[in-house]
């Protein structure tokens, strides 16, 4: 059952791919705005909203993947002196009982907001474009849910003792910051 559960971190990988595509879309949409404003004197109505929505969505969608590959900064000059097992138990405790529940409830609120925005067809109130907000709220909710899932997957890895804090279990490892 555990092995099957651990494979759910494919969700984080998939969302990371979507997030990478969003980076490209972000560049493309701003370039489009720049060209149409300076070359044709016709600024778009949607560029401002699209830019912040893409950025907001892409970082949350990538947050689970970043946790998986340990891109989040840890200050480990003290904790790295503890034995590996102690480090794993500390992380296990935080992931299972503090971080996991926090993000569970945040995901719950985010999901509620997204669904109510969808049902009421809520639109962005300050923008002249007035786009529907449920896709943006939905992306935030999905990002938070996937992050919660990844927290529990990594928590199980700490429980089983096959993950070292600060080290990615996959080959996608990178040095952060």
């Amino acid at each position: 059952m555990n092995a099957l559960f651990l494979r759910l971190d494919g969700v984080s990988d998939l969302l990371a791919k979507i997030s990478m595509a969003m980076v490209v879309m972000l560049v493309a949409s701003i370039l489009y705005e720049v060209v149409s404003r300076y070359a044709f004197g016709a600024p778009t109505l949607w560029s401002f909203d699209i830019s912040y929505m893409l950025n907001g969505a892409l970082f949350l969608l990538a947050s689970g993947y970043s946790l998986k590959v340990e891109a989040h900064v840890r200050i480990d000059f003290l904790s790295s002196r503890l034995s590996l097992r102690h480090q794993q138990l500390i992380n296990l405790f935080f992931y299972f009982f503090l971080i996991g529940p926090s993000f569970f409830f945040l995901s719950y609120v985010a999901g509620e907001k997204a669904i109510s925005a969808w049902i009421t067809a809520e639109v962005e109130s300050v923008s002249p474009w007035s786009p529907l907000v449920w896709p943006f709220y939905g992306a935030i909710a999905i990002g938070l849910m996937a992050f919660t899932l990844q927290v529990y997957i990594d928590g199980i890895r700490y429980l089983q003792g096959d993950k070292t804090p600060g080290k990615s279990v996959t080959k996608d490892d990178m040095n952060h910051d």
Binding site: I30, L31, F59, N91, I99, M174
Partner: protein, 437 residues
């Protein structure tokens, strides 16, 4: 007990951080724990507000774009070629490789804006080159650490983007403000290296080239390797400072431009492009999660009365502008030993901003000093993040002793820059004043 919540928040935060829990998650968990006292079961609606607020911030959407620009320069061969071209020019001077490294870091700092990344990327190229010519290990360590720290102050820096959005200052003005201190710092570093290596020849021996490179060839290599990234970065900065483009637009054009240059030089392969995108989303998620955590932390801190607590404490001291500035800088300096710059900016800028407003301190002048101090703190032993990064790429015969000794001259040089900014606020405020007029 309840009125001491703001104090406890910091204590608990540091306990979590030192236990090795990711900083972003430590901030969020601390906010959840203490938020219950004030918000009860409305807590998560409140904290979701912080997430939505961060996710909807237009200014912050320049962050993935600046990172992408740096990542493309790094993942394609552009960075390595730049370093080799710089060696051609500086190699035969005393300490020439160290000079190349600093210039490389300055250009790269401008490109990426992410501190540790510059240090690691440039360090991996520069350390073997310097080791080959038997450079002094202290100088090697100091050069790479000091060069890596430049990302904070040399625009376009992500520190500036986050700082400006927290303190509600103009990003363009803040970039302009950090330009002169940034250039001063690079100049101080380079003068020190040439002078030190001139008088102590074994510190950084000049490189003896096996064969003389003809000037025409030198110019050709320069035109190919140095000019394109330099043009790219100056056009990004220029359009920003002249107010032609918003930071987000300048950054998007910069990212597309970097990809275009790499494409022209046939160095943009599919795997390197995907690699650059992967780096981009990881670093963006890392930075933005700290922004989320920091926003939550400071909002809970504020509603728990933390702001009043600090204002009361400062008022009871009854001190002048310079003493106040000094105390605030000391706090940042100490915090910089353990926290990364994003957390420092996110936690302390909202707390300090009302204080400096009341005291009538120029917020732009203060911001520049703030950034120089973060940078110095990043470099200052014994707890220097720059040294921890260096350790991960250093050759095994380079000890902590080499590193500690090596960074000290650079720490002093940075303090000199800080002193200049304190004594001559014009160094920070002159360029921004041109923009407003």
């Amino acid at each position: 007990m309840i009125e001491l919540i703001p104090l406890w928040m910091f204590i608990i935060l540091f306990v979590f951080v030192f236990l090795g829990i990711p900083v972003a998650l430590s901030l969020i968990v601390t906010s959840v724990v203490f938020g219950f006292f004030t918000f009860g079961d409305m807590l998560f609606n409140q904290l979701y507000g912080a997430i939505l607020h961060t996710a909807s911030n237009f200014t912050l959407s320049s962050i993935p774009l600046f990172i992408l620009m740096g990542a493309i320069l790094e993942k394609t061969g552009l960075a390595l070629r730049l370093f080799q071209a710089l060696q051609l020019w500086f190699g035969r001077l005393p300490g020439g490789l160290a000079l190349s490294t600093i210039v490389m870091c300055a250009i790269f700092a401008a490109a990426s804006g992410v501190v540790g990344a510059v240090e690691i990327v440039v360090g991996m190229m520069a350390l073997p080159a310097m080791a080959k010519y038997k450079y002094n290990k202290g100088l090697m360590a100091g050069t790479v650490c000091a060069g890596g720290s430049l990302g904070t102050i040399i625009p376009p820096s992500i520190v500036v983007v986050v700082y400006a959005s927290m303190a509600q200052l103009s990003i363009g003005q803040l970039f302009a403000a950090s330009l002169i201190p940034g250039v001063m710092m690079v100049a101080f570093f380079m003068i020190y290296m040439v002078v030190a290596c001139y008088f102590k020849k074994d510190l950084g021996p000049a490189v003896i080239l096996e064969q003389q490179v003809a000037l025409s060839e030198k110019l050709l290599i320069t035109a190919k390797a140095i000019l394109p990234p330099l043009l790219l970065i100056s056009s990004v900065l220029g359009s920003l400072l002249l107010g032609i483009a918003s930071p987000t637009e300048a950054a998007a054009v910069g990212a597309a431009g970097a990809a275009l240059i790499a494409l022209v030089f046939r160095e943009l392969s599919w795997p390197s492009f995907i690699g650059a995108l992967k780096t981009t989303i990881q670093i963006t998620a890392m930075i933005m999660m700290i922004v989320v955590g920091g926003t939550m932390f400071t909002s809970i801190f504020a509603v728990s009365g933390g702001g009043w607590m600090i204002v009361d404490a400062i008022n009871s001291l009854d001190i002048g502008v310079y003493q106040l500035t000094f105390i605030l800088m000391a706090v940042i300096f100490l915090a910089g030993f353990v926290l990364d710059w994003i957390s420092i900016v996110l936690i302390f800028v909202p707390i300090f901003t009302p204080l400096i407003k009341t005291a009538g301190i120029d917020p732009i002048w203060f911001a520049v000093m703030f950034m120089v101090v973060i940078q110095t703190s990043y470099l200052t032993p014994p707890m220097a993040p720059s040294i921890f990064y260096l350790k991960s790429i250093a050759p095994s015969d380079m000890t902590y002793r080499h590193m500690y000794q090596g960074v000290m001259p650079f720490v002093i040089l940075q303090l000199l820059v800080l002193l200049s900014v304190v004594m001559f606020p014009m160094a920070a405020t002159y360029l921004p004043s041109l923009i407003t007029n």
